[in-house]
Amino acid sequence: METIPLNSPDREFIREVQERSGQNVLACYQCGNCTAGCPYNFAYDLSVSRVMRLVQLGQREAVLKSHSIWLCATCQSCTTRCPNSIDVAKIMDVLRHMAREAGYATERNVKAFGDAFLESVEKHGRVYELGVTATYIRKTGRFWTDVDLAPAMLPKNKLSIKPHEIRGKEHVSEIFKRFRERDAVKENS
């Protein structure tokens, strides 16, 4: 295993995580409660409490390259049960922002799904579910995604064939436009 050099922690990284999340990562005393309650732990490469520990140690690379931060679904178990009232889910969110900004996306499909979703919102103002699926498949090439659900779905008439366009869709797309124009990178989320 790798030795973590303690002489050169990335203090800027620790500071950025703290500032963007508004959480004091030093308040974590590593009780492991977040890991204990995390439903996604089985799919993680780093348990939540280890993500917290590595943040405390200023290990930017190890944290931002982890799969865990992409798999977290913000279910709030960790936040709700943290004895030190740290909003762990928010820290996971912030780490994901930072990973995105740094160009890491270790879970390509998760990112692709999110992107597809937001593209749909930007275009129509509301989510067009069939459109999301189509975009997602285009982005990932995973043609067989959920095709097994079709027999159950189609007769129920649940997926509309056309997107729900709204009058204010321009307003919504402008929100995205302004967001991209603004230098969002150093923004205190």
Partner: protein, 291 residues
């Protein structure tokens, strides 16, 4: 008693959870709640938005709260916990005088006047009340063993949601009891179902939803009652996927609490959109003399 509030159906209400939207509107009408759908509402951004940027997420949500205020609504309710979480977070952010300008910059309009937001579940519990529901029940759900599943974000984090107990919520349990059902002590009320991972990481959903179905099944649950479109979809639509992945053959109907409540209040199966469910609940409901 007349209650009048703004209504935010959320995108899934016109797609995968059309029956939730339908039954919510029908139940509210029955209970004397006037829902005024926000004209020209847009998507709250859901999970993808806040995983990209918190201000973007707040702006997408805030647009609706500002719109509602302009349309004269001080309070907005939404059936979807995911929308609720986003709208509520946005609401907090635009109350913060330091944060508000950031949101306003994206939105290009003032957020000073914005509606507050709550879930329809909270509205029904707090403003209609259990006693009134009991009185309004015409078709008790006798002999029906239900497990109420709230999902992970209906009550959490408690600092934001400020509704019900974050670990052992009872709102739906009480409503179902008021409807005459036998409510099982479902221990995984707030465990995550796998959320939006269905498409990109199916194994997560099959694992997590699998656990929920397993525990529900061990309690001899006849029907799982939910309040979240995503939970419902994972447990109902994907129940087949879950079964295939885990080598099981569960066949547990998963319905929205508004659907069962609606039936108890005397609405028809059509009015609460029962036919939209994948795992068909009608045999059990017939057996229990609800249909």
């Amino acid at each position: 008693m007349s209650i009048s509030v703004g209504y935010y159906p959320g995108c899934s209400g016109s797609g995968t959870s059309v029956e939730y939207d339908k039954s919510t509107r029908a139940v509210c009408k029955k209970l004397g709640i006037e829902l005024h759908e926000i004209d020209d509402w847009s998507c709250c951004g859901s999970t993808p938005a806040h995983t990209v940027n918190h201000t973007l997420s707040a702006a997408l949500s805030a647009r609706n709260l500002v719109l509602a205020a302009k349309q004269g609504q001080e309070e907005v309710v939404t059936p979807c916990p995911s929308c609720l979480a986003n709208l509520r977070t946005a609401s907090h952010k635009i109350e913060d005088e330091e944060y508000r300008p950031k949101v306003e910059a994206l939105l290009d309009e003032s957020c000073e006047e914005a509606a507050s937001v709550a879930s329809t579940l909270q509205l029904i519990i707090e403003r209609v009340g259990i006693d009134a529901i009991k009185k309004a029940v015409v078709k008790p759900l006798k002999d029906l063993n239900v497990a109420c599943y709230y999902g992970c974000i209906m009550n959490r984090p408690p600092e934001l949601m400020k509704f019900d107990d974050p670990e052992n919520p009872m709102a739906m349990d009480k409503i179902m009891e008021a409807c005459g059902a036998t409510v099982l002590p479902f221990p995984l009320k707030v465990e995550c179902c796998g959320a939006a991972a269905g498409m990109p990481k199916k194994n997560i959903v099959t694992e997590l939803s699998g656990r929920l179905l397993e525990v529900a099944d061990s309690l001899n649950t006849e029907i799982i009652v939910t309040a979240c479109p995503l939970c419902q979809m994972n447990l109902d639509l994907r129940q087949g996927q879950v079964n295939r992945a885990n080598g099981k053959s569960y066949d547990i109907p998963v319905v929205y609490f508004t659907q069962l409540l609606g039936l108890a209040l005397g609405l028809s199966a059509e009015e609460v959109g029962l036919s939209k469910l994948v795992v068909d609940p009608t045999p059990r409901l017939r057996f229990a003399d609800v249909l």
